[in-house]
């Protein structure tokens, strides 16, 4: 399993397409920084192909007033959980 990390929102950047195109069937995607906008119910459709493997960073959601506004399909992790995701992954790939 590879952890992909995305820090751009699908509302303004198409980088998410490259991240998704690069993901294997077991890989996970973590949204951080401005990328957490992708976890909004209005935006999460862009990540349909990785349902169940989509994560968002709690601290970055909270900073933007979005903690609790995430779509239910998104698994929210704090930075400790972020580290844990990197432990469980064989490697990480960052998309910006």
């Amino acid at each position: 399993m590879i952890l992909h990390i995305l820090n751009r929102p699908p509302s303004s950047s198409l980088t998410y397409r490259e991240a998704l195109a690069s993901m294997g069937p077991e890989d996970r995607l973590l949204l951080i920084e401005d990328g957490v906008l992708g976890a909004l119910p209005s935006q999460v459709r862009h990540f349909e192909s990785v349902t169940g493997r989509l994560f968002a960073l709690r601290e970055d959601l909270a900073a933007r007033g979005l903690d609790g506004h995430c779509d239910a399909a998104v698994q929210v992790v704090d930075v400790d959980g972020f580290v844990q995701l990197t432990e469980e992954a064989d490697k990480t790939v960052s998309w910006s």
């Binding site: 909004l40 935006q43 933007r64």
Partner: protein, 126 residues
Amino acid sequence: MHDRDTQLGGDVLVILRHPPHGSSWLREGLDAALVAAAFGQAVSLLFMGDGVMALAGGQGQGPLGQKGTAPTLDMLAMYDIEALYLESGALSALGLNRDALQLPAQPLEAADIANLIAAHRLVLTF
């Protein structure tokens, strides 16, 4: 203020296109707006694209405890910056509720945005 609102005009229009925290664009754009207002200019703000996130309620601190831009928004009125606009399409695209915004801003359709830009002497995009 009312005249300026209905006429969409002014000296300086600052367009804020970036969301809070991910970059310094929003803060540096707001700084430019505050300085222009402090220098006596009639300043308007347009929150556009992801920039409408600047208006979201309940914002917190950044990764290293930075206070972010939400406190700055509360200072706008003190600087007489009351002409606040937002791109109506961006708000709905992000699914934000207008009632939950930290500050009220007037929603504009695309044609009005072009008019707003035309009606200011100086337009700065951040």
